[in-house]
C-alpha cells in the first residue's frame, strides 16, 4: 500500500481557495487517489477520485502531476462549513484485496 503524507493542519478564511497537497512517492501504476472529508462525530465522506491530470466535480478539483507522486485537492471559495479533516488515500481499484487505510489527514480550519 502506498503511504501518504499530508500537512497536519491548515488555516484559511471564508471565500479563499484552499489547496491541500498529499505526497505519495511510492504510488503504484494501478493506484488511484481518493480524498475524503470528515466532520466531528461523523464517518468520512467521499469527495473526489482521480488517476492522472485533473478531475473536477461540484465540490472540488483534484490535480495530479505527470509523475503522480503527489496530488492537490483544491476547494474553491471555502466557507465555514468546510472546516473538517481531509484524508488522502491511495489504492488499486482492481485489487479485490485492497483494504482501505486512513492516514492522519489534514485538519482544515476556516475563519470568518
Amino acid at each position: 500500500l502506498a503511504k501518504t503524507t499530508q500537512p497536519i493542519s491548515m488555516d484559511s478564511y471564508e471565500g479563499q481557495e484552499v489547496n491541500i497537497t498529499c505526497s505519495h512517492n511510492n504510488i503504484a501504476t494501478n493506484d488511484y487517489i481518493t480524498w475524503y472529508q470528515q466532520f466531528p462525530s461523523q464517518g468520512p465522506r467521499f469527495i473526489i477520485q482521480g488517476y492522472k491530470t485533473k478531475v473536477t466535480n461540484e465540490v472540488a478539483s483534484l490535480f495530479i502531476p505527470a509523475d503522480r507522486k503527489s496530488s492537490t485537492l483544491s476547494l474553491p471559495r471555502v466557507s465555514l462549513s468546510d472546516t473538517a479533516v481531509y484524508y488522502c488515500l491511495v489504492g488499486d481499484p482492481y485489487s479485490s484485496a485492497s483494504k482501505i487505510i486512513f492516514g492522519s489527514g489534514t485538519r482544515l480550519s476556516i475563519r470568518p
Binding site: 475524503y36 470528515q38 467521499f46 485489487s95 483494504k99 482501505i100 486512513f102
Partner: protein
C-alpha cells in the same frame, strides 16, 4: 445517499458486559470495514471482510470479533467490555474495485 446503518448510535455499559454493534447495508456491497476512532485522532482499521465467510483483522489490534454470515450484515462483538474500549466505532461498505466508501453514522461506545 448511503444505505448503511449502525445501531445503536450511543451505548453506555458497565465493565465486563458482552455487546454487539450492528452494521447493515442494502447496497449489496461485498467489502465491509470496521474502524475505531477516538476524538480528534486517526481512524484505525480493526476488521474487514471481502464477502460472506471472509473476515480479516485490520492494522490495529482489537479484542473485538466480527462475523459475516450474510452479505448485508457485519456485526462487531466485544465479549467483555472494558473502559479501554471506549471509542467511536464506524462501519463502512464498498462496492467492487476501489469505489468510494460509504460510512454509517457510527456507534459511540462508553464503558464505565
Amino acid at each position: 445517499e448511503a444505505d448503511i446503518y449502525q445501531t445503536p448510535r450511543y451505548l453506555v455499559i458497565g465493565t465486563g458486559k458482552k455487546i454487539t454493534l450492528e452494521c447493515s447495508q442494502t447496497m449489496g456491497h461485498d467489502k465491509m470495514y470496521w474502524y475505531q476512532q477516538d476524538p480528534g485522532m486517526e481512524l484505525h482499521l480493526i476488521h474487514y471482510s471481502y464477502g460472506v465467510n471472509s473476515t480479516e483483522k485490520g492494522d490495529l489490534s482489537s479484542e473485538s470479533t466480527v462475523s459475516r454470515i450474510r452479505t448485508e450484515h457485519f456485526p462487531l462483538t466485544l465479549e467483555s467490555a472494558r473502559p479501554s474500549h471506549t471509542s467511536q466505532y464506524l462501519c463502512a461498505s464498498q462496492g467492487n474495485g476501489y469505489e468510494k466508501l460509504f460510512f454509517g453514522s457510527g456507534t459511540q461506545l462508553s464503558v464505565l
